[in-house]
Symmetry: D2
Subunit: 374 residues, 4 copies
């Protein structure tokens, strides 16, 4: 994967800085004939908007997408789909004080080290706002995956060390999570996290957390060994997100402390299948999914399952020691609008990146055999 | 990243199945003029050899590399460097029983689902033996990085839940780890792990673990935002390894439970620098390295630090339930030579993949500014 | 090269259909710190505009470019540079009659065969208007090449079989060619061609021609053997233009009828060099340039020279036999605004594609040796 | 296209220098299940061998291919197919005199300018012998295309200005051309050319020529607009060949002197189709094929037709002026084994590159629509 493009066939390029004229994406290699729903696109952008993050965030933008090319009479043409969102609510003045100071935990210093020149306003392209182009592109990918019955659902699975009960818990409810600005699909935990976030905000500090993602409907066979494996592609996609510090698939790090006899998922006996008991994928079912739906870098037909760790937002209101352009250290108090916890806003971005990976692998998979019937 | 190639400029293609005629790699885009040391190459291959794994492994192969092209009078030509290792010690007969059965936890079923046809002998290309080409290519990348003073060191940091004390521990000794077939750089822990492995072997079971990696000498500025970020590239590289189930950078998953005020590394005050106290990178030093040497996907100049989780070897000698080609479940007892724990052998592979990522990013970084003085 | 992206490091994606909302490009991988001149960008777009083509063309559009990202305080940031031009003067109604008919010599039928669905208005993305994104991107590439003293000049070198005298002719004047809507750098020939074009227009027919291109200041060493050779890259770039049917380098097709003793350019004797006689590149000079500045796919340091053949515009006003969607043949009379000869408008596009190739190869060349001083 | 890899999905990397240990290729992305015929592979290599060039060439090598990976039980596995040919008949001593001199018309100087270091023996990787890996890879691509009924045939269409009559001539016979070391499919012309070549050899000089190529069975729809158009890809492929100086499609350069009314191929009337008269592709037939089977960069379903120009072999036995490492000009008499005309040997290479382009585009085309039935 290069600088600002992602994918081999279903290939996305994103553009835009936090306080420049516009952000967006170009999706190249999307098959022709896919119905494009502007409401779905707008809805995805709304999910990542600060307004969607309620108490955890404060910057409000409209984020109205415009499709510049690639769609005709409501369907994709097979040509590049360019989507643009103009920046409108830019309070660039907030950042004047940061022109010559590198904010701790941010990419200010490293971008300057790399390019020798940077847009200091809101972090320029290192801003979380950059994910807007990813979400727009992900919306196109989701429309393609919908044709194959593939559905991607992510949620906030922990904040500041508070674990959210998972799908096995009776209180787990993804619809609830979507109503909830924290994207926590468990009402009681959401209330608890809300209190913790307010406390952290009062402390002038910030919180991290994890996002979990489950994908249903993935056919067996996706993933391009040995370097384009499904988990390799997803890991590369997720770690390209600003504050991501780790990823794990299935049982993940816990697998490293376990035994082979425990980690090997058992196949479902034929007699069970014969009785017509519900199996996710007939012929490929396992009694458990410790593998997270991936073996040897290829989808098994079980649900994909992974979890991404995000560090706390580096912008805190507490005074901090910061390096400046002359190499001196000075005290810095960060002004402006900042999330206490950006994990809820990462939820649609994790889904978008997952969609981009799967759309590309679905198309690449068409090359696996002499003839394809996909 | 595609199927079997890796990288954008420093671009590697690997080839070979576990029991085919040969394995190897072609390194395209390696700069001209790099001294190539056959002993270093052979040494790297020896490190990943089962013989290097002592009690944990049993298959012995010579793995003698042959450079087929790209090197002339001991230096790289700038042309593709092809390296081949012939397979010699193939006991293919061991695998006859596995022709129609899919081993649990292995990629047998998923590869057949993808390609409709597979080499069942030793897992074909899904075998860990495939990493041989990666290690050979990594040896070339290391030779290039050596010119820049970049050194990569990985080690076994946990096995079966037993944590190995880290570099901050007085007993930590990487040289010791290299003598040690477990690649555990801590003598007492190595002894303890050895006992546990023998117990697990006696149980007919297998163990997982983690590999930690530290890279010194990385200049600030490496990494190609936003999709080719340093951590994104490393995550993609590591999760392309057979049994990898997770990765974390710096404080990793622990960061998700922490606060911004704790996770933001503090810069080193100028007065400390003025006193000439040792700093890893003058002008870029931090008092801690919770970021793992990466901010915004770009190297900070501090050491790179990350950890990879590997699941237990799926081949266990205990009887298991396995699915066969007809979709029936049968009892399977796996024969043949297998590691109880492959983590030690993953150590040179983690280093090799790290080298491939860094070599590519070092070359890509040359394009960051109008003129380059690298 | 993929569908709609071009380049490896300096990588461009273009988007837009003839009658969609907008066209444009995203330039990814452009180094930071390059001064971007809006006037130069507008000037390039003006050169490819029909208004620039005078008697040969009739459609008028404003083509005002907007830079959406990647430029800050007048310099490139190293982030993606997105440039958009809105479509304004769309007389889509002109194309209603063409919804179910495939225009002869156009891509109507082949695009429908490929994608099963197309935007029939003005050819959609198969329109010559698609080159607008290329010219915008080429303007960025030219700004980069300017830093290296590389200048690209193309011109109309023949129309309808009338050859334009070349640089060796005293009447050859590139500045004259730029004033001239035919881009013919030879006043008398321009007058002659003008008359021929008017005659062809009166006949309801159209004309083809050739564009020649010369690049000065190319340092020796550009080109990535064996598949990314300089001539291979240029050939791929030029044949990606709508009506291009051939390309030749240096003496080209004539070389195929010649002898080695004639085609091998002779080096300039040291004595001549010692006398300080002007040489294009000291140490690399040849007495002739039959190679067109390329040997073994790598620049020699002499001027690059090549010529591209364009077929006549397929849209003619004469009645033609055309296939329709049902497979029937009907008589077609094409309405709308069409060039009699699009060769003059191809001139800036040939330059733009040349700039894109050279910018990419210049950056790739930085990877040729251990250390680079470029 | 990068340095030594070619293609996006069906992706080939070649390796090897003229006098290094071995040459070969790795084919990545070839679908699984294709029957691989060792005889076909050997046959292709034999066609490009000097022995196949009879009077025009003199170096004899065995060129025995070995498949190192990717084929199991006679069929492709979907894994990388590595093919190696060892260099055996290396008279490196012939080249000692060339260590410090740059042969005129060769890539000696440009490679040294680029890499600062080169293998001077036989031109190293700039040797025509490098095409061996291409032909091996092309043989795999041909096996894939055979499954789709696509056949590629090239031939020597002119030598030293003598034009070989084309397929419309009654004496044209491709089988004859294959028996004939000159690959001239017209017996009388072959005799005539033979005489001319012997005369040129006696003069100590060399000859150029053209190769024509026709592909039958290409379905409509291949080609990836706008940068991966079928003609763009073929042009890039052909100009990556050592001595290629030009290419033209269909009527080519002649089209540039013609009129639209003449160049637009006329569709075949439905009544003719209804009578069942033979059409190449029902529904897509034209009465002529001036477009060379390509419109808008996409195959029309008609035969692909193009012609490549090759300059004379630069190695001539006549004394020449050559530049040496010190920048001085000295007289050079080239020793060793050299073709007087390499055009006949380019014939299988042109076919191989065509096959590589088509295999890749066939796979890419599978991504054009939501669902594919290919």
């Amino acid at each position: 994967m290069g600088g600002n493009y992602f994918g081999t066939i279903f290939r996305v390029t994103t553009f835009g800085e936090s306080h420049g004229p516009a952000l967006g994406c170009v999706v190249d290699g999307c098959p022709a004939g896919i119905p494009m729903d502007m409401d779905a696109l707008s809805g995805e952008l709304k999910r990542r908007r600060p307004g969607g993050g309620g108490p955890a965030t404060t910057r409000i933008e409209e984020d109205i997408p415009e499709i510049l090319s690639g769609v005709f009479e409501g369907k994709t043409l097979g040509t590049p789909i360019a989507i643009m969102v103009r920046n409108t609510n830019q309070r660039s003045g907030d950042y004047d004080a940061l022109k010559d100071v590198y904010r701790p935990g941010h990419a200010d210093w490293t971008w300057e080290a790399k390019y020798g020149f940077r847009d200091h306003r809101g972090g320029g392209r290192s801003s979380g706002r950059e994910t807007l182009g990813r979400v727009a592109a992900g919306s196109v990918a989701k429309a393609f995956l919908r044709e194959y019955g593939i559905t991607i659902r992510a949620w906030t699975s922990s904040v500041a060390g508070i674990e959210v009960p998972g799908p096995e818990d009776p209180g787990f409810d993804l619809a609830e999570g979507e109503k909830n600005p924290l994207r926590i699909p468990h009402r009681e935990t959401a209330v608890q996290v809300l209190e913790v976030i307010e406390q952290i905000r009062a402390d002038g500090d910030s919180a991290g957390g994890t996002v979990s993602c489950v994908v249903h409907g993935v056919p067996p066979g996706l993933g391009e060994p040995v370097f384009g494996k499904l988990d390799a592609r997803l890991a590369g996609a997720m770690l390209s997100l600003g504050a991501a510090k780790g990823i794990e698939f299935g049982t993940g790090f816990a697998a490293a402390t376990s035994r082979g006899s425990i980690q090997n998922d058992r196949p479902i006996p034929a007699v069970v299948k014969a009785l017509g008991l519900p199996l996710e994928v007939p012929g490929a079912g396992y009694q458990s999914n410790k593998a997270g739906g991936i073996l040897g870098g290829i989808s098994t037909g079980m649900a994909l399952e992974f979890r991404v760790a995000f560090k706390p937002v580096p912008s805190i209101t507490k005074p901090q020691q910061a390096m400046d352009r002359r190499g001196m250290v000075q005290e810095l108090i960060i002004q402006g609008r900042h999330d206490v916890c950006m994990v809820p806003r990462a939820v649609p971005v994790v889904e978008a990146m997952t969609a981009l990976v799967l759309a590309d692998l679905l198309l690449l998979h068409r090359g696996a055999r002499i003839r394809t019937e996909q």
